[in-house]
C-alpha cells in the first residue's frame, strides 16, 4: 500500500503506466498535427470549409460529445468504485461505459451512412478529406476502446482479484479517456468554428 502511494507521485508511474502515456502523447500530437494541417488548408478555402461545415449534422455531434463525456465519467466512476471495493457498482459503471461507447459508434455510423449516401465521401473536397481521415481514425480508436473494455468486463473477476489486472484496467481507462481528449479537440474545429 505504501509502495502504491509512493508510486503515485513518482514521475515514472502515471495512472495506467508509462507506456500508455507515451501512446497518449503520440496520439495527441498526431491528431493535433492533423487538425493544424486542416486549418492551414482552410486558409485558402474558407468559403468551401464554411459551406462544407454547414452540411454536417451538428445535433448528432453535440449528442455524441455528451455521450462520450458521460462514458468518460462512467469509466472514472468504475475505477473509483473498484478502489472503494464496491465491485457490483463498479461492474455496472463499466457496463454503462461500454453501452455509451456503443451509442457513440452507432450515432457516428448513422452520420457516416448519411454522408456516403449524399456523395460526400473522402474525395468530395479537401474539407471532407480531413473530416473522414480525422473522425474515422477517432472512430477506430473508440471501437478499439470498446473491445478493450468488453475484455475487462469478461475478465471482471480477475480485475478485482489480481493487482496486475487492476493496473491493466487503469491503462484501458487511460486509453478510453484518450478518445475523449481527441474528440474534445475534433468537435469544435470540425463542427463549430466554420
Amino acid at each position: 500500500m505504501e509502495q502504491a502511494i509512493n508510486n503515485e507521485k513518482n514521475i515514472f508511474y502515471p495512472p495506467g503506466g508509462l507506456l500508455i502515456w507515451i501512446i497518449i502523447f503520440l496520439e495527441c500530437i498526431t491528431f493535433g498535427m492533423g487538425l493544424i494541417a486542416m486549418i492551414t488548408y482552410g486558409q485558402d478555402n474558407h468559403l468551401l470549409y464554411h459551406d462544407s461545415s454547414q452540411t454536417l449534422n451538428k445535433y448528432t455531434a453535440i449528442t455524441n460529445t455528451i455521450v462520450l463525456l458521460s462514458s468518460g465519467f462512467f469509466m472514472a466512476e468504475t475505477l473509483r468504485n473498484i478502489k472503494l471495493k464496491k465491485y457490483t457498482t463498479a461492474k455496472l459503471f463499466l457496463q454503462l461505459t461500454i453501452l455509451f461507447g456503443c451509442i457513440f459508434l452507432g450515432i457516428k455510423s448513422f452520420d457516416y451512412i448519411e454522408k456516403i449516401s449524399s456523395g460526400m465521401s473522402i474525395s468530395y473536397n479537401i474539407f471532407f478529406t480531413f473530416f473522414w481521415l480525422l473522425t474515422f481514425f477517432h472512430f477506430l480508436h473508440v471501437l478499439l476502446g470498446v473491445i478493450i473494455l468488453v475484455y475487462f468486463l469478461w475478465k471482471f473477476n480477475s480485475v478485482i482479484s489480481e493487482v496486475s489486472m487492476t493496473e491493466n484496467l487503469e491503462a484501458g481507462a487511460a486509453f478510453w479517456h484518450l478518445c475523449d481528449l481527441i474528440w474534445l479537440l475534433l468537435f469544435p474545429v470540425i463542427y463549430l468554428i466554420y
Binding site: 503515485e8 507521485k9 513518482n10 514521475i11 508511474y13 502515471p14 495512472p15 495506467g16 502515456w21 497518449i24 502523447f25 495527441c28 500530437i29 493535433g32 487538425l35 493544424i36 486549418i39 492551414t40 482552410g42 486558409q43 451538428k58 453535440i62 460529445t65 455528451i66 463525456l69 458521460s70 468518460g72 465519467f73 469509466m75 472514472a76 466512476e77 475505477l79 473509483r80 478502489k83 472503494l84 481507462a173 487511460a174 479517456h177 475523449d180 481528449l181 474534445l184 479537440l185 468537435f187 469544435p188 474545429v189 463549430l192 468554428i193
Partner: protein, 77 residues
Amino acid sequence: MKNSNTFIWVLLVVITLASVSSMGKSFAFYFILSMALLKIILVAYHFMELKRAHRFWITSISLLFTIIVCAIFIQYR
C-alpha cells in the same frame, strides 16, 4: 474519498452547451477553442486521475494541448 467526478461531468456538459450556444457570435472562435482546452484539462486532471500523479504529467499534457490550440488560433487568422 470525496467524489468530485459528478460535479466535473455536469461542468463539462454545461461548458459544451455554452460553447455551442456561442456559435455565430463575434467572440465564438476564441471562446469555443478556449472552452475545448479547459474541458481537455478537466478530463485529464480529474477523470484520468492526473491529480494524484507527478506534476510533470498534468503540466506536459496541458502544455501540449495549449500549443496545439495556439497553433490553430494562429493558422485560422
